[in-house]
């Protein structure tokens, strides 16, 4: 059965209004993740306006650059999980245990965002900031919340792995399970390494000024944010390969392709991780936006 065919096999009662079916399905399946994502989209307006009127600089760039990046990343994460929720066992989504977990994840996202935006409003740093007793006490707590919100990808990996009833193409299901699982494991490893260090830079000037266009990654030294980015995006990269493979290849070739894609993406994370720890920039040839 094709991936597309499955998405269309849902009961029509979960659809509503003028929204495209896939968006209505996201809201019907995971209203908390979907709603939190929409809320964050609306909050892009004041954050972007604040960026436009604030002249304060942190690490060489506007203080609101970081909250904006985190907000976009969390929107993508929440919408992705809300989309993947269609492949969880139907009973699980309705279960009390899952709904409590889902609220805990959304609360973690909210607190993380308040911490990061609050630090920016005060013109100071969030991660790595131990300059006051309060911020020093909050930082490890936020690490715990970050692991909690990332654990949703592990929970999804396990649940989709167990859900034989979804009728998913085996290669595509494997790609979802591997991608989601890798997102949790690799993100925790990379982010955990970072949190044990005074910052995400290794060598080079500890500033975002002159960082890589769009991403801000260091061009004069190592930057663990590169590996964090690819680790967290495993849940997109591997399923994307699985989707293409399941549509165009035979079942065995598709399975092999998915495993190969997981190895390639995992190697990319490992490569960028080691590269950063050795103090080497990722792609210094890609110029900076601001100098």
């Amino acid at each position: 059965m094709s991936v597309q065919g499955l998405a269309q096999s849902r009961p029509s009662s979960s659809r509503s209004g003028n929204w495209p079916d896939s968006i209505s399905a996201m809201r019907a399946d995971e209203p908390r993740f979907f709603g939190a994502g929409v809320l964050l989209v609306f909050m892009l307006v004041p954050i972007t306006l604040a960026m436009a009127i604030d002249d304060r600089i942190f690490n060489g760039i506007n203080v609101w650059d970081k909250p904006l990046k985190f907000e976009i990343a969390l929107i993508v994460y929440l919408f992705t999980l809300a989309y993947f929720a269609r492949w969880l066992p139907g009973g699980m989504l309705k279960s009390r245990r899952y709904r409590v977990f889902s609220w805990v994840v959304v609360s973690s996202v909210a607190l993380e965002m308040i911490w990061i935006a609050g630090a920016a409003a005060n013109g100071t740093g969030s991660h790595f900031n131990v300059s006051t007793p309060f911020m020093a006490a909050v930082y490890p707590l936020m690490g715990l919340l970050a692991v909690t919100l990332t654990s949703a990808s592990l929970v999804y990996a396990i649940a989709i792995h167990r859900n034989r009833a979804a009728g998913l193409d085996p290669a595509f299901r494997l790609s979802l399970v591997l991608g989601l699982g890798m997102t949790f494991v690799l993100t925790v490893v990379v982010a955990g390494t970072m949190s044990g260090m005074p910052g995400h830079w290794v060598g080079g000037v500890p500033s975002d000024q002159g960082g890589m266009a769009g991403m801000g990654w260091a061009r004069d030294g190592g930057d663990l944010r590169v590996a964090h980015f690819f680790a967290t995006h495993c849940l997109h990269l591997v399923p994307l390969a699985g989707y293409v493979a399941s549509r165009h290849l035979g079942s065995i070739a598709a399975m092999r392709s998915v495993v190969a894609a997981a190895i390639v993406v995992g190697s990319l994370v490992l490569f960028t991780y080691v590269q950063a720890l050795l103090g080497m920039p990722f792609l210094p040839v890609i110029g900076g936006l601001n100098g």
């Binding site: 307006v45 004041p46 306006l49 009127i53 604030d54 002249d55 609101w64 409003a121 013109g123």
Partner: protein, 150 residues
């Protein structure tokens, strides 16, 4: 580019003024005047207020706990602007509610015009007048709160 509170004041005031003009024309366009003056414009001003507080609150002095502290707060030009945008947003929101309520309760628009003008100029005075008109019209009848049965 440096943020210019004076230019922002002009822009915010022009946006709010256009909202009030729409409310004065609301008998001609009851739905769109509500969409714009009752929702879009107050929310746009609210987003601007939010941005001002995010960017400048931590640099201000004072607080809400005494008149001296409120005065200290407004010594920051950006927070003074935020305070003004707060007026603009909430006054317009109340004005739109007056126009909407008057229409639902079939209050003649000629009575609403002075309420809108007073709400625009002196916020609470307009709200008082509008409420007085409502109470006068229904004196002796049961009081109904919006959305709730008496």
């Amino acid at each position: 580019m440096q943020f210019d509170p004076d230019a922002a004041f002009q822009i915010a005031s022009a946006i709010a003024a256009s909202g009030w003009i729409l409310l004065l024309a609301s008998p001609l366009m009851p739905i769109w005047s509500q969409r714009l003056s009752g929702q879009a414009i107050p929310l746009l001003l609210a987003a601007g207020y939010c941005a001002l507080v995010l960017a400048y609150w931590s640099r201000g002095e004072g607080g809400f706990d005494s008149l001296d502290n409120v005065a200290a707060l407004f010594r920051s030009r950006e927070l003074l602007l935020a305070g003004w945008v707060h007026y603009l947003a909430f006054d317009l929101f109340v004005g739109a509610w007056e126009a909407r309520t008057a229409r639902r309760e079939a209050i003649a628009f000629v009575l609403v015009i002075p309420c809108l003008i007073l709400t625009f100029l002196f916020g609470p005075v307009g709200l008082l007048l509008f409420s007085a008109i409502r109470f006068a019209r229904r004196s002796g009848k049961a009081i109904e709160v919006e959305g709730m049965k008496p």
